[in-house]
Symmetry: C2
Subunit: 272 residues, 2 copies
Amino acid sequence: MKKYQIKADDQVTLSKFDPDDTDNFKKTASDKEKAKTQTKSYTKKIQQLQERLYANGKYSLLIILQGMDTSGKDGTIKSVMSCVNPQGCQVATFKTPSEQELKHDFLWRVHYSAPEKGHIGIFNRSHYEDVLITRVHGKISDKIAKQRFEQINAFEEMLSENGTTIVKFFLHISKDEQKKRLEERIRNPEKNWKFNIGDIEERKFWQDYMDAFEDMIRATSTERSPWFVIPANRNWYRNLLVAQIVASALESMKLKMPAAPSNIDFATLKIE
Amino acid sequence: MKKYQIKADDQVTLSKFDPDDTDNFKKTASDKEKAKTQTKSYTKKIQQLQERLYANGKYSLLIILQGMDTSGKDGTIKSVMSCVNPQGCQVATFKTPSEQELKHDFLWRVHYSAPEKGHIGIFNRSHYEDVLITRVHGKISDKIAKQRFEQINAFEEMLSENGTTIVKFFLHISKDEQKKRLEERIRNPEKNWKFNIGDIEERKFWQDYMDAFEDMIRATSTERSPWFVIPANRNWYRNLLVAQIVASALESMKLKMPAAPSNIDFATLKIE
């Protein structure tokens, strides 16, 4: 798990991370089953710890998911996070900004969607789009990108100082794997609806995206708000890692069930 | 299931509904297990149908939960709805309105929280509080209450005409059962945090609440937006009924996976 965490000031080279990596797991049916069983034990842990998070109502967890089209952002949420109580979990998806959103700074809509105390918030895409797609298409200069990195770090530090634990996942797939997944969306009528012709256009900028991701991860992985580069060609290994890291993030919060309200004398209280 | 659905213009008498009712299920361990197994098959159904709802992105489901304190609103959401993909589900809890909310009509904050297309929305309490607690404490007259019933019916009809299927649950517990549950919150340190001294105060108005609920259900159960009176003394039976009714509501929407986008020629499309 630690091996995928990017330390502050790490000069990450994305091409050194193998999207096909499954570490100690072989790519066999039996190892895949083993991974799934482990994932289940982590989602159980997440479920238990979410209850404490909710009961306390003081802290929150923010999970940020980024990655190329078809990298499995939706799939990760479905597979790993369908275990949680929806009353304590919000997912925010950030698509092309609306006209109104564009009238504000790029962090405005994101800040509004930050998880409330006691909750888990999941960002499916995020403010990081504003240093990715915008950059790849030359909508912002390198200078502005650098400024935004600093603004993002300050923003996330503020959230963290106010009780939000943050984990950020870059779901790392290979260009070949994307091809397979896009073809599957074309081939399989059940998946046609997920096909977006724009994805083919963006795919042409693959290397530019990789450069932008690399730069982003280098500049915005901090101790309090780390990036994890998740090898994501294999869904089952991706799910295992994400579940493990989310469970561990919740554990690191050392949550206890809250103490009884001090203004009530439970010893003498009687219900008529 | 049908036996708990209130038809439009039914002159419901709440006292005729037994909160302890478990219909064909005996109150034995083995029947309880049987009910739990059935509940699981319904939550599986909900999971599958939610995916179609989401993929279509055209319709939504709104689930409204009302009931006395400790009647199991939170527990129902946790037990029945933890199966869903949080990306397609939002829970809105309506507590005492904020100062800003009070500056608007009572439906304003509720409307804002209505589920988006493709999603399941859950209201933990709702606009119905404005014909319940307000009424019990004489904050609104019978005339205003009647007016609000009409306004609520018009509001829900509008939602329904715009693609939202609505199901409303009154979780019906007995006064004795509430006593047990409040005592459990006092006795069990793990549950202390849920204890609210205000609940004891409200409990004194039990009969007034029953009258207000009865009136509300009579006035606002419609064909398109029916109330279900759920016997809720037994959590396992409550969960079974709610899961069954939610699954059936989703089924009644006759959702199919959406057709492929018509502007794309899937037969000739090639990925480079």
